[in-house]
Amino acid sequence: MQFDLTKPQKLLQESARTLFRRRCSMGRVRELMESDSAHDPELWQEFVDQGWTGLVFPEEVDGLDLGMVELAALMEVMGEFCVPGPFLNHLSASVVLNELRNHDLARARLREAIAGESRIVVALHETESRWGLNGVRLALRREAGRITLEGSKSRVSGAVEADWILAAVRDDEELAVVLIPANQEGVTVKATPAIDPTRPMGEIHFDGVLITEDHVLGRGEAALGAFTRWLQVGTVMTCADLVGGMQWVLDATVEYAKSREQFGRPIGSYQMIQEQCADMLLWVESSRSAAYYAAWALDEGDPDTGRALSMAKAYCSDAGREVGNRGVQVHGGIGFTWEHDLHLYYKRAKASELLYGDATFHRELLAKLILDE
């Protein structure tokens, strides 16, 4: 049993840190988050050059064929630097294509996605639906030999500037994956600003959009399998991103507690501050354990994968919020200012809390596994 990252995994993290130190300073993050998509084409090209867009995909589609642990390791660093833009959603969406890569169109789009030529997004959510696939009601209309789509998807993280949309729809009651070019007639993508400006949300409207049969990449079991894998990979990525963010908050907070003096000594020497920092450490380290355990289990196809994923997401969601709360509290007034970078991490953690299902959602999934079998 060996829990540490391997040397290559650590190298992957180090090269990511080097890149972000150079190309993704907090100043740059702040610039990017003012835009609708928070997307930086040059930074994106660096990701592509590093092979990250193909990190977990097979060599046959020019991927690096690495595993979930490597992906988590990379996402942890993205979390540390609060890297803006659609990488998380692009990569998890690529997973859908990869699952369906026997379909020629899917494979072609996957290659493009890996090569950085296009950006992909999964559109699942509809108004007032939960995470999970049960809330999908948007349906293909088949009439007189034509297939059309009419309706909306909302809260699509990474929607703005996506080139391809993978919409979760019903096709004659069955779940289906439909590939739609974002620039097709009848498709409108609107930025819908939300709490986290580093990973902006959008709304997608389909106004009588024409679908050709071969753009229905999969349905039934195949669609279910592809979207389930998307949820799983997205969950791991979100947890790892949260871990990196929490680590940044902890480090910044401890640093501040050491240097800030009140009543003649560093505030970090007060027990009420020490207590908060100690709890933060406990949460960060436990979140890290949970996130990597989930990554490892998913990679291994471990029978505990479902539990490991829900455990990680439920725990990291709560811990991310609480670490942020303590971080702001220990920083006092300065941690409450726009100037300080803390709030960027704080907001991102709050958004991640809901991404791929919140703690309550995942606890109920766990309850099903524990109590209903």
């Binding site: 007032e128 639906s129 809260r155 600003p193 709490i195 003649g264 709360n325 409450f336 809901l354």
Partner: protein, 390 residues
């Protein structure tokens, strides 16, 4: 024990309600457009209106233009203001903090100069206490005032100063004795914000708005007649004032939190998830009920504290208990709202981003006006009599 209002308290409430119903501005709650001068002019004119109606400085002695209201009446007053969605009182620092301090420690000249102008809204005040390096440890402040002839020359920086961007005057704590123990070398100056050398910089918060400011003082000259109280006695004067202020927040705050709660209930009943109302979800129901009981208990706790304060003229550390209660309660309330309302609450377009604002803003609750750590210290040491912690 009788938790009903007395006939006198009822009359007070009814009078104010009647006055409000006739005098409330058409535009009931001015939205905070801080860059718009009209916004501030509106607030000043509301302050004037209150004053003309005899509804400014309600707790001040009648001799100074007040109404001599009891703490309970003052609480009723604040509750009615909040319930009627009246505009913010731009004179709140003058009325709640500066006025009472001048009444207690000011010269006759200071009283006659400042008190009427506080009431009629022509002097908006801010308070210059916190400094970048003096947060919880306010008494370690380093803004200094040096006597030159009949003027103090002030240099230094203050932070977290509400209303500074429009204030006419500032109640400023400065160090005047550099050798004395830190609490003994502080004096209190009344500073004209239009003086040369005063500059104000708005401080943007994580919630995106600018509720606070930084204020810089560079060779600002303050006539000695604007020294409030004795030289080097500024700490004692202001600490008393601060304790007075803290205890008075009850009803107004309650109404504010109640508005949040009521909107949460409204939205929870309207919104659905996969076809089921949020208000029907048993887990949401537990959370909402818990928020409700904590909120109502804040009201009961406040009333109980007011009733105690009414008996013992000087408020004790009850203020710390209430502050600790409401600050953490509000954080739990908005956390619950964010959890119950979920994705919607995180969208800027939903209720104009109000939930995001409330959520982020609430993080300041346990920091501003004495951190929770400081409140717990005060409770442990001043109420429970535990030894000083170090």
């Amino acid at each position: 024990m009788d938790l009903r209002l007395t006939p006198g308290e009822c009359e007070f409430r009814d009078q104010f309600r009647a006055w409000l119903s006739e005098n409330l501005p058409e535009e009931p709650k001015l939205e905070g457009q801080e860059s718009d001068p009209d916004y501030w002019e509106g607030l000043r004119s509301w302050q004037r209106k209150l004053s003309e109606g005899g509804w400014a400085g309600v707790s001040w002695p009648k001799a100074y233009g007040g109404r001599g209201a009891t703490p309970i009446e003052e609480s009723i007053y604040l509750g009615e203001l909040a319930a009627s969605k009246a505009p913010e009182r731009v004179g709140v620092i003058g009325e709640g903090l500066v006025g009472p301090t001048i009444i207690a420690a000011g010269t006759e000249e200071q009283k006659s100069t400042f008190l009427p102008r506080i009431l009629d809204g022509s002097h908006i005040w801010c308070q210059g206490f916190s400094e970048p390096n003096s947060g919880s440890d306010v008494a370690s402040l380093s803004t200094k005032a040096v006597l030159e002839g009949d003027e103090y020359v002030v240099n230094g920086q203050k932070i977290w100063t509400s209303f500074a961007q429009i204030a006419d005057w500032c109640l400023l704590l400065v160090r005047t004795d550099f050798d004395a123990p830190k609490h003994r070398g502080i004096s209190c100056l009344l500073v004209d914000m239009k003086s040369e050398g005063v500059s104000v910089r708005p401080l943007r918060q994580m919630s995106g708005d600018s509720g606070f400011n930084e204020v810089f003082f560079t060779n600002v000259r303050v006539p000695v007649r604007y020294l409030l109280g004795e030289l080097n006695e500024g700490w004692k004067i202001t600490i008393t004032a601060l304790m007075n202020e803290r205890a008075n927040l009850g009803s107004g705050l309650y109404m504010m939190f109640k508005a949040t709660f009521d909107e949460l209930v409204l939205r929870a009943k309207e919104l659905t998830r996969d076809g089921v109302s949020l208000a029907e979800d048993p887990i949401n129901r537990q959370k909402i009920a818990q928020s409700f009981l904590e909120l109502e208990l804040f009201r009961v706790n406040s009333n109980r504290a007011l009733s105690q304060i009414s008996q013992n003229a000087t408020p004790g550390p009850e203020g710390s208990i209430l502050k600790l209660y409401w600050s953490e309660m509000n954080q739990r309330l908005v956390k619950t709202a964010m959890e119950v309302l979920g994705d919607e609450a995180q969208m800027e377009s939903f209720d104009h981003g109000k939930w995001i604002y409330r959520y982020l803003r609430s993080r300041g609750n346990t920091i501003e006006a004495g951190t929770s750590e400081i409140q717990r210290n005060i409770i442990a040491q001043r109420v429970l009599g535990l030894a000083r912690s170090y």
